[in-house]
């Protein structure tokens, strides 16, 4: 396999290979990328790599390292690169493929080139620590444990977990939401949202079809546990004597107040993320179809428009504004209603039952926001004007006769 690549390298000029990197066909892009890498290596042009690949869309190079159950990343060995074939280690392959799928999602769906938007390398570390029940982003790379085999298994098994960690990198390079209190919970929620969307995208699932679970594939038969979290129904992922009850709230009325310390999960960032998680789920269901389209785009643009201390209220208002500006009344209404259902009201988007005209709640369609009424009023006015224009056109035509 490698021998064939080398032959191609010898006869294919680099500028053509670079053009092939922009091909719409994935296999062509990967073949070109592998060829360029091997060429550079053969010539000993290590410096060429960074210059050649920096900023070329969709070619953020993946490298997977094996920690061998050590807690030291610096002693990990390279296990797979873009120029290597499948590894005999399934964790290595799952991490490699998961990072690749997430990279493709951000590029193809959101037009983002890797973590930093400029083709940043994707480094993943597997087999971190002994019985390590976790995965994390350390500011530069993604790290995955094998699990203890009792509560959790290999953390590379869940694509949404891999995408969750990579998304922490995206958040760091964009809004850089502070990792405590509401901004920290929002940071966690953003990772859950795009973690789930990457999985849904890879499976071709609509919002209705998706399970909206995070980490469903890393559970074991030993413990009754659906997943780490449920975005659809926060607080229901587990409830047993060993793990306790899933503590995630699904409404601001049940917001969890914890100390802003390590032991307090930085004021409950993994707890209160349930609130914006549920809001995204409701918005996606309200809008309908594939959640990575309008809902994902609205949330991504809202992330880009956010800052270190953005809280739930501000983020909700940003999603509402972007939904109205970039989409339409129905999407904006779905977003407002989603936030309202988790206890976050957006100014100017109160329920229909209390609108300024004193109109009644539309019971047949459930509670509707004022924005929905505004939209409906606008639609009625446009329709009335259209009817008038049509009537005028008929009158003019009749006069001409």
């Amino acid at each position: 396999m490698k021998a064939n690549c080398r032959c191609v390298n010898c006869i294919t000029p680099p500028h053509i290979l670079k053009r092939l990197l922009e091909s719409s066909r994935r296999e062509v892009r990967e073949a070109a990328m592998n060829s360029l890498l091997v060429t550079a290596r053969l010539r000993g042009e290590r410096a060429v790599r960074a210059k050649t690949f920096a900023g070329v869309a969709g070619v953020a190079r993946r490298t997977i390292y094996d920690c061998g159950t050590s807690y030291r990343l610096s002693s990990a060995n390279v296990a797979r690169t873009e120029s290597d074939g499948q590894s005999s280690d399934s964790s290595v392959n799952l991490a490699f493929d998961g990072l690749g799928t997430t990279r493709e999602f951000f590029r193809e769906v959101l037009g983002r080139d890797s973590i930093d938007g400029a083709g940043m390398r994707l480094n993943g570390y597997v087999h971190y620590g002994l019985n390590y029940n976790n995965a994390f982003w350390d500011g530069q790379e993604m790290v995955f444990g094998d699990g203890d085999g009792v509560i959790f298994s290999d953390f590379t098994k869940s694509l949404d977990v891999i995408a969750h960690e990579l998304t922490h990198g995206v958040t760091e390079f964009t809004a850089n939401l502070e990792y405590h209190k509401q901004s920290g919970a929002l940071n966690e929620s953003i990772s859950d949202v795009f973690g789930s969307l990457v999985k849904q995208w890879s499976l071709g699932q609509t919002a209705e079809e998706a399970d909206w679970l995070i980490g469903a594939d890393i559970t074991t038969p030993e413990i009754e546990l659906d997943a780490l979290r449920s975005m659809k129904a926060p607080g229901t992922a587990y409830d047993n004597d060993v793990l306790g009850k899933d503590p995630q709230p699904d409404h601001m009325d049940r917001f969890v107040h914890l100390p802003d310390t390590e032991d307090g999960d930085w004021a409950g960032v993994h707890y209160n993320s349930g609130i914006p998680n549920k809001a995204f789920y409701l918005a996606a269901i309200g809008i309908g179809g594939f959640a990575w389209n309008a809902p994902g785009d609205i949330w991504y643009k809202s992330l880009l428009a956010s800052h270190e201390r953005t809280d739930f209220q501000e983020f909700a208002e940003t999603t509402y504004r972007i939904a109205g500006a970039d989409y339409g009344c129905s999407e904006q209404t779905a977003v407002a209603d989603a936030w309202r259902q988790v206890g976050i009201r957006i100014a100017g988007a109160t329920s229909r039952g209390r609108n300024r005209k004193g109109g009644d709640r539309d019971e047949s369609h459930g509670p509707r926001s004022e924005s929905a009424n505004d939209c409906a009023t606008l639609a009625d006015q446009i329709k009335a004007i259209a009817n008038q224009v049509e009537k005028l056109a008929r009158d003019v035509k009749a006069l001409k006769k």
Binding site: G129, L130, N131, N134, H180, W266
Partner: protein, 100 residues
């Protein structure tokens, strides 16, 4: 010497995690000696001061409480992303024992 390892945080921050306890008096002499050596190495190491989460996301934190036979108590804390060699060695030793 009594050792208690507690963990916090991580992706699964919400789950219950009972502490792992080890008593040197319950160990074979060779293991007890090894445990004392590992604890001494952590004690001699300058552990990083943890002022906040830094850039680590979903990282776990570890606290190892040590009670000496004379009743002296001390606690050592480290988080993912700032793991020291000696702490990692002690952590691995405790994890291996707790796994049976």
């Amino acid at each position: 010497m009594n050792i208690e390892l507690t963990k916090h945080g991580g992706l699964a921050a919400g789950i219950r995690r009972p502490p792992v306890c080890v008593k040197s008096s319950d160990l074979p002499e060779a293991d007890a000696t090894e445990l004392r050596r590992l604890v001494a190495a952590v004690r001699d190491e300058s552990l990083p001061i943890n002022a906040g989460p830094g850039q680590v996301r979903d990282g776990m934190s570890y606290a190892i409480a040590v009670e000496e036979s004379d009743g002296t108590k001390s606690e050592y804390r480290v988080s993912d992303g700032q793991m020291s060699d000696a702490f990692a060695e002690l952590l691995t030793w405790i994890e291996r024992r707790s796994k049976g």
